[in-house]
């Protein structure tokens, strides 16, 4: 049928159409303000960060230790009631060198978001789950030298400045 049809509907507009005033439009900004309660699992996580400790949740049933902590083990659907410290060191599972901001502005020095597998959490399991994987950024490293498998450690804000937030860790830096 696409072979027989010559004219498909849909009219493409260009920036020029807007510049020329050919298109009428309404512009508006939506206000959306929220205050999210942190809950039990993440609440404990943030309180830990304020003390300079990264907490994971331990499942008493299947014995996984996962980060960030949560109240239910989604793999065996049993409660996770025990929160245990893991290390603030780990391994880069993967990363990107990002030259674009959230609103698509260009930057010359890339940001380096990464998934970091924390030491002390359960390792890659046979269900393809990285128990200790969290997203954070890398710093104190030349972008081109970042490698998957690189060993890293958290760089914390000074204790007095910590507020119980993921940003209490400034970034992870290479070690060893």
């Amino acid at each position: 049928m696409t072979g027989n049809i010559k004219n498909f509907p849909g009219v493409s507009l260009s920036e020029q159409d807007f510049d020329d005033g050919k298109i009428l439009f309404v512009h508006d900004e939506l206000k959306a303000n929220y205050a999210w309660d942190t809950g039990v699992g993440i609440g404990a996580y943030l309180a830990g960060l304020k003390r300079g400790v990264i907490l994971g949740a331990r499942c008493a049933h299947c014995r996984k230790v996962v980060v960030p902590p949560r109240t239910v083990c989604e793999w065996c659907y049993n409660p996770m009631e025990e929160y245990v410290p893991v290390q603030d060191t780990g391994t880069v599972n993967t990363f990107s060198l990002c030259y674009v901001t959230w609103d698509v502005k260009r930057i010359t020095e890339p940001e380096i978001p990464a998934v970091i597998m924390l030491d002390g959490a359960s390792a890659l399991s046979n269900t393809s789950v990285i128990m200790g994987g969290i997203m954070h950024k890398l710093g104190e490293v030349e972008p081109k030298k970042v490698k998957i498998g690189m060993r890293v450690q958290a760089v914390w804000k000074p204790q007095a400045e910590r507020e119980g937030a993921i940003t209490d860790i400034l970034y992870f830096k290479p070690i060893g």
Binding site: F95, S96, I130, A165
Partner: protein, 388 residues
Amino acid sequence: MGMRKVAVIGAGMTKFVRRAQETPKELSWEAARMALESCELTMDDIQGVCMGTAPDAFDGVHIKSEYLSDGSGAWRKPYMRSYVGGGTGVFAPIQGWYHVASGLFDVVLVVCEEKMSSYYPHAQAAFLTIFDHTTERPLKPNLLWIFAIEMNRYMTTYGLEKKDIARVAVQHKRNAANHPCALLGEADITVEDVLNSETLAWPVQRFDVSPVSDGAVAIVLAAEHVAKRLTSKPVWIEGVGWHLDTAYWTNRDLAYPRYVEYAARQAYEMAGIKEPRKEIHIAEPYDPFDYKALHHLEGLQLADRGKAIELYLNGTAAPDGNMPVCPSGGLLGVGNPIAAAGLMKIAELFWQLRGEAGKRQVSGSPKTGVAQAWGDLMQVGTVVVMGR
């Protein structure tokens, strides 16, 4: 399982464009009208309407399916919207399928629409709320992070090179040059063009990514007794599957899409497919990024892990190959109006299996095809197997 056979009997779509003059409901109407005309039905023949459309945030409209309802033909009909992120476009026809397979309705219209251009300054920011508000958003992520991070994991795990992965973008954009609705069809694009395009979030460069787009697609589904009366060329929905992995995306092994595997196994089992590499003749895996087509071909069991690139390097994936991949041009070439892009893949299989794909028609008169989409926080897989 006591389910009725369900066929696709009609399809329609708008052009996929960067910014459409038409509103979302006008786009929905254009695609729906075309789908109805293609099988010579009117709205009176339609017993229920399934709407697939992605975040309300794109339009800034609460419950946008209701806003779209007049265009999509929902007035005084049973009407339901499904939304599983990028997986929506292949999930909405599954929803339509079970409306008919169950015996509830005989004829159902499925419409998928997306208008991404209304969001300012760029639709990417509408996606930011997929990141966890407490543990991730304070790091000021952008949507590209997650894909670049996954692409790097996939490449590194299997030792793949960018110059090979670029072949996917080249193949799809060249295919799209023959699609009358395509936004980015380019008959002469080369691997060098892809490798020289702007680096956005390494390893993702400009031409590795599909463009934000506006557009709509619609199909008509019918029960067997109706389908056989209305067309001599019904295309059957032979298997469906969908599956979700953990929403803690950093807790997953990003090298392999297990959620696609499980969705595919569900669909293949229903379709009676035991050896997908032999029995699937044409594939439309979800390709918002070039590496994703490879990732998904592996999840669909159409290639070994880390080996899907070989289908492109040895010509299997080409339109005249043994298993053409994304002959439509895919999201990379036709465009990526989220939900509409997924349903475009179903429409493409419909046209290809009927031999009506015009300049894009693949060789070998394929009998069985698979379409797949993927979405949410990279953890949902939706799969449909179609055959004639």
